[in-house]
């Protein structure tokens, strides 16, 4: 089956309109990019898109009721919902330092981005 994905490249401010063509899940063509960086990004975006994930986690005994966290590395897009469920169950206790690894999920470190 042939499928075409169209999107705006976000690697640089030029914002080229890139089209990636897939045949049975395999990339068969990329058009619209102006440079190799954009091509690489577009292929990754259709084959294995990843995102940094951020959220807040309740914290006991801190100055604010939550501490903000993010993943130390980008997470495959299809795993984000599962990761969010894990984060929803998390409870932390002050003191927490900014940059501290507060949990780990499937090898991905969860880092505090505020102190508490």
């Amino acid at each position: 089956m042939r499928k075409t994905y169209c999107f705006t490249c976000i690697v640089c401010p030029l914002g080229c309109a890139i089209e990636v063509e897939l045949e049975d899940g395999k990339v068969v063509g990329v058009t619209g990019h102006t440079c190799p960086r954009g091509e690489e990004w577009a292929i990754q975006e259709v084959t294995n898109p990843k995102r940094i994930v951020m959220s807040v986690v309740p914290v006991e005994g801190g100055a604010l009721p939550t501490v903000s966290v993010r993943t130390a590395e980008p997470v495959p897009k299809e795993k984000i919902a599962e990761l969010m469920k894990f984060l929803t169950g998390l409870r932390l206790k002050a003191p927490i330092k900014i940059g501290q690894v507060v949990a780990e999920w499937e090898g991905i470190k969860i880092v505090a981005t505020r102190g508490a």
């Binding site: 705006t8 401010p13 914002g15 807040v56 309740p58 604010l64 993010r70 981005t113 505020r114």
Partner: protein
């Protein structure tokens, strides 16, 4: 008017009003320049809006690293505190008084009472306020469940409370898009992002969020009405034509329990207006010279109070510039210039600051265009300056460096225009 003798009196070289990135950068820099500084913020934490902006995207220029809002704020706070800047949180500035060039008074309340501070210069960095539902012409029932984006963000990302389950967002700027992602991540259903203009207002990397979460974007549409009993139940949306007039018969309703308004920010300058600071209607902030000094000598302004910035890096840069201005002002008893060159808006320039340039120093011009364009040049004919850019969008501020000798080529005024290359 006499200062009030019964309230405690403090004295500093500079008072910085606002502890967001603009204020913190200004205070840190002023201290490094040898000034005696007090920073005041009405929140009970430092950082301004940054502690609630938990997504990455901050600091790529300033710290050469991509940080989240709270991380950016923490770095600035650390620098400021390690420098020995004195600061007070939960300290709300009520009034500024301008007695003479080097005699100003700031009156603030705090949990330990009311204070007045004498200062030689003031750096005003109180940020911006959000436009609310009535301002953008939404009518209907007065119900719970209508928030500005900032309010919703504070609820969710400071207090850990999800403001609703089925959400309609007004505005597709970066703030609206980032909020759409936060709601979707936290399990709320974002039923629509509604944008008046025919193009999305935010950066491409943020528009991508809509695809990530299958959120419908209605371009060229307007939310006009909210209905509900006690809480929002549905919102009415209409299509608009090129002139932004409603298309008759195009209206439809979306069921939702929450409406989030992300319709832009306005510099918060009430206290400055009161003491006669001249305001530029196009930026909504004060008219300033290239030290970011307002029309009232010794009152400087930085960050979103000056003009709405999309990058915190520029905000911090403005804070430092204002601090340098305060230093010069205090040392020389005023900001010197042989003459001021006035900056005029040319083709496709919606706003530009600073407004008056001395030609004594290099500086950055910050400007926004009225409409998107590709392959353009920012031109300043009087100076011969030309800067080529692949794209310009109203949502993205353009920053252009001008050298002193370039400015000196202009006589009375210089015109900034954005034209096809």
């Amino acid at each position: 008017m006499e200062p009030m003798p019964q309230i405690p009196m403090l004295s500093y070289d500079v008072v910085v009003i606002g502890g967001g990135p603009a204020g913190m950068a200004a205070a840190a820099k002023a201290k490094e320049l040898g000034l005696n500084v007090l920073l005041l913020d009405e929140n009970d934490y430092l950082g301004g809006i940054l502690p609630q902006c938990i997504h990455p995207g901050f600091g790529i220029h300033y710290f050469k690293e991509e940080l989240t809002g709270p991380e950016f704020a923490a770095r600035l706070a650390k620098r400021m505190i390690e420098n020995g800047v004195e600061y007070r949180t939960s300290a709300r500035v009520l009034e500024i008084r301008n007695y003479s060039d080097l005699e100003k008074v700031v009156i603030f309340t705090s949990p330990s009472g009311v204070y007045q501070v004498w200062a030689k210069a003031i750096i005003y960095a109180a940020g911006a306020r959000e436009r609310h539902a009535f301002e953008i012409g939404i009518v209907g029932d007065r119900v719970a469940g209508i928030y500005t984006a900032g309010e919703a963000q504070t609820l969710m990302d400071i207090y850990g409370v999800l403001p609703g389950k089925e959400i309609v967002i007004v505005g597709s700027g970066d703030v609206g898009l980032i909020m759409a992602r936060r709601f979707a991540l936290e399990g709320a259903k974002v039923k629509a992002v509604v944008e008046l203009m025919p193009y999305p207002g935010g950066l491409a990397r943020n528009v991508m969020i809509l695809r990530d979460f299958n959120i419908p974007l209605y371009l060229g549409h307007r939310v006009v009405e909210v209905r509900g009993k006690g809480r929002v139940q549905r919102v009415k949306i209409v299509k608009v034509d090129e002139n932004l007039n409603e298309v008759p018969g195009s209206e439809f309703w979306i069921e939702a329990d929450t409406l989030v308004i992300s319709a832009g920010l306005i510099p918060s300058v009430k206290k400055l207006k009161k003491i006669g600071v001249e305001i530029d209607p196009s930026t909504g902030g004060p008219v300033v010279n290239d030290r970011l000094e307002t029309s009232v000598p010794g009152i400087f302004v930085a960050g979103n109070s000056l003009l709405i910035n999309d990058l915190v890096d520029y905000v911090a840069e403005q804070g430092e510039l204002a601090a340098e201005g305060a230093k010069e002002f205090i040392e020389k008893g005023g900001i010197e210039s042989r003459k001021w060159v006035k900056v005029e808006k040319g083709a496709n320039v919606r706003l530009v600051a600073p407004h008056y340039l001395s030609g004594d120093r290099d500086l950055y011009l910050y400007l926004r265009v009225s409409r998107p364009m590709e392959n353009v040049e920012v031109r300043i004919p009087e100076t011969g300056k030309k800067v080529r850019l692949p794209v310009v969008k109203p949502a993205e501020m353009v920053r252009v460096k001008l050298r002193a000798e370039e400015i000196r080529k202009a006589q009375e005024r210089l015109t900034v225009e954005v034209v096809g290359a």
